[in-house]
């Protein structure tokens, strides 16, 4: 009896997470797959994908999504690294830094978008401050559809503010796992702060950087609440289009096709990161 119980234990312990994955992740993926590839009559076809790709906003959505990704992700990694190093430097009040930096994580993305909208809009905080300082006579129209660069910049700022903290938390955790001896050894050999960062911190931080990059890139493919709030319909992105196809255009098939495309892109990005930033066995063992 006892023997049986013990051999069943691993399966028993795995069961909850397997059931969770199967019910809440795998089954919906299967349903989305059917929705995207099946026509109303039940045949398998690519009609939904054709409709998706022939849409006027599609090319723009792909372009904007990648532009945002390529701008925001590197920016956030650099910012988050700086923040993490600042916390790691163990200055006085480092926990305060950590808490302040982490605040945006607690705010939902749509709320974050609305907060930044109230800053950037014509009668928003930014214009009010600039006007009261006498720097401008008329409010600046930062979010006009005629000023796509301005809208893009506003989205980059808002997204960076909102989602840098999660990258920072991962990097702080990674930094804390690097043994202090390494820094002391480096110092002993006369390495300055820059050299220490370059030769000790960055290589040893690679596993965390990989995780952070993957998570951030996946999130970037899903960005849309902030974009919706700040740009309205002038800056279409993939996730936003998927939402619009389901909620406004009432075409679940095309929405599912869009979701499928996002899934594919996310998988592709993950594979690329895993390959490019390959973590060696000894680093993983740590």
């Amino acid at each position: 009896m006892r023997f049986k119980l013990e051999s069943a234990l691993p399966f028993g312990l795995l069961f909850p997470s397997v059931a969770f994955l199967a019910l809440l992740i795998l089954a919906p993926i299967g349903q989305a797959f059917l929705l995207a590839f099946q026509t109303e009559t039940g045949e398998f076809a690519l009609a939904a994908f054709q409709r998706m790709a022939s849409d006027t906003a599609f090319n723009e959505a792909v372009r904007n999504t990648f532009l945002l990704l390529l701008t925001i992700v590197p920016l956030q990694i650099v910012l988050a690294l700086a923040m993490a190093l600042l916390i790691h430097a163990r200055l006085r009040g480092q926990t305060l830094f950590l808490y302040v930096f982490a605040i945006p994580m607690a705010i939902s993305d749509l709320a974050a978008g609305l907060v930044w909208l109230s800053i950037f809009t014509e009668r928003g905080y930014l214009n009010s401050i600039l006007q009261s300082l006498g720097w401008i006579q008329q409010p600046l129209l930062l979010l006009s559809y005629q000023n796509p660069q301005g809208i893009f910049a506003a989205v980059v700022v808002a997204e960076s503010w909102r989602a840098t903290a999660i990258v920072m938390v991962i990097l702080v955790a990674g930094l804390q796992m690097i043994p202090r001896d390494f820094f002391e050894a480096a110092e002993l050999f006369g390495a300055g702060t820059l050299k220490r960062t370059w030769y000790v911190v960055l290589p040893l931080l690679r596993p965390s950087l990989q995780t952070a990059l993957i998570i951030r890139t996946l999130f970037a493919f899903q960005t849309f609440a902030v974009v919706f709030a700040l740009a309205g319909r002038t800056l279409p992105v993939l996730a936003g289009e998927a939402y619009t196809w389901y909620y406004s255009n009432r075409n679940p098939a095309v929405a599912a096709a869009m979701a499928f495309l996002i899934l594919l892109l996310s998988l592709l990005a993950t594979v690329v990161y895993l390959r490019v930033l390959q973590v060696r066995e000894e680093e993983r063992a740590r």
Binding site: L13, P16, A57, T121, Y145, A231, R233, G240, Y247, R250
Partner: protein, 447 residues
């Protein structure tokens, strides 16, 4: 912890997870049954599922004041987006497990539900409501082209212009603010820009705005006398040209505006078009600053859109008597007056508006009445019979707008391409034309 304890604990955990996954027992209502409920046994709350009154403030007013006087059953008011709303009703019908009682939606939603066989025949209920002077046209609409009543009209709304009084001094020479044309509106915007240096006209064009209704029910009919049939005519080209000229004076931030009242209150917009429920806060918060005036007229008249919301009953609902009682309640003249006061949707009854209205509602009602009684006034209806294709129908107009107005593409080319898209939608839905297009047999054709 020794090994055996660990084993026991982990199995206990698995059991807990399995138990949590099992279907939950039906909740037992904890509240005591209301006293004045002679006919209906309040076993479960009566669900009123609605696509209307979805903004949080409106939903709260529905729950706390409009429904407060209804004692026959405990009502659970649930407001949702069109998509999940239809999915829930149709899924419940397919599963044979109906929880929804009353359905509140715009006219255009009901044909989809009827197609899914999800609506009760309300003809017997209407017999009991003979004393209500419900507008005849609305009752006809509620038959959905059959000889049975599938919804009872609930409330109506329309779209008007809200005007900041500061803008009145810049009205073009000879223009009457209560009888504007689209060209005069453009001129007005130009005058305001000349004087203030700012673009202060407002057309809501955000992602959740009702911009498509402005194109469908106002611009297109006013210029072409139709919508679908005239989508790419030379009159339509003229219309888009004029709209482009008008857009020169529209605040460029309007592409993020969903509710015009906010832009009006902040002063970013002085003359703004929107749904009455999306303008009302401007009148409420600054009644001295704003007036409501009719929408402009085009060469074919002053077309305006009349939005009718109705109440239906889900087929095989567990509490049909309660659902009928709720519809009876919501169409009472006194409750219709409360609805107008609280959420500024207008009554569907032919009787005059109550006189004791708050100032904001009076201001708005003034514009609404002037619009419907204007000499050149004509009615356009919300799209009918499009079913699930309603979303893609709106998309055609919105894409046309984005391409012509925002991206500056060639008007004729866009109209030809989007006209083809429009025809595909009409063919897929097999929807005949509706007002103002001439009635057709078979799918409405783009000419």
């Amino acid at each position: 912890m020794n090994k055996r304890m660990f084993l026991v604990a982990s199995f206990a955990m698995i059991l807990l997870v399995v138990a949590a996954c099992a279907p939950a027992p039906t909740p037992v209502p904890t509240q005591a049954p209301p006293t004045a409920a002679p006919t209906v046994a309040p076993v479960q709350p009566l669900v009123l599922l609605s696509t209307q009154l979805k903004p949080v403030e409106e939903a709260e007013k529905m729950r706390k004041s409009i429904l407060a006087g209804f004692t026959a059953a405990k009502v659970e008011f649930v407001a949702d987006d069109e998509g999940p709303f239809q999915d829930r009703i149709i899924a419940e019908q397919k599963a044979g497990k109906v929880t929804v009682g009353v359905i509140g939606a715009l006219h255009g939603t009901f044909p989809v539900l009827l197609q899914a066989n999800a609506l009760e025949d309300l003809t017997p209920l209407l017999q009991k409501l003979q004393d209500r002077p419900i507008v005849k046209e609305f009752l006809t609409l509620g038959k959905l082209g059959t000889d049975k009543q599938y919804y009872v009209p609930w409330m109506q709304a329309t779209y008007v212009l809200a005007v900041n009084k500061k803008a009145l001094q810049y009205l073009p020479q000879g223009a009457d603010v209560n009888a504007l044309t689209y060209k005069q509106l453009t001129e007005w915007g130009a005058n305001i820009q000349k004087a203030t240096g700012q673009k202060k006209l407002g057309i809501p064009a955000g992602p959740k705005s009702l911009l498509h209704r402005f194109i469908q029910g106002y611009l297109y009919p006013s210029y072409t006398g139709g919508l679908v049939t005239t989508y790419k005519t030379s009159e339509a080209v003229e219309m888009w040209k004029d709209f482009k000229a008008l857009w020169e004076y529209v605040n460029p931030q309007c592409t993020t505006v969903d509710f015009m009242q906010e832009a009006l209150l902040s002063g970013e917009v002085w003359v703004g078009f929107d749904h009455t429920a999306r303008l009302i806060n401007a009148f409420k918060e600054k009644p001295d600053e704003f007036i409501a005036v009719p929408a402009p007229a085009g060469p074919k008249g002053r077309y305006y859109m009349s939005v009718v919301a109705g109440l239906g009953i889900a087929k095989n609902t567990p509490n049909k008597a309660g659902a009928e009682a709720l519809i009876e309640y919501l169409t009472r003249p006194s409750v219709q007056a409360v609805t107008l006061r609280e959420v500024s949707f207008f009554p569907v009854l032919e009787s005059d508006l109550p006189t004791d209205l708050p100032a904001a509602i009076k201001l708005e009602a003034d514009g609404v009445v002037k619009q419907s009684k204007a000499k050149d006034a004509r009615v356009a209806l919300l799209p009918i019979g499009l079913g699930a294709k309603g979303g893609e129908f709106n998309k055609v107009q919105l894409d046309t707008f984005t391409r012509i107005i925002l991206k500056g593409e060639d008007i004729q080319k866009v109209l030809t391409e989007e006209g083809a898209n429009l025809q595909k939608v009409m063919n897929a839905a097999q929807a005949p034309c509706w007002l103002p297009d001439p009635i057709s047999t078979g799918a409405c054709q783009v000419k």
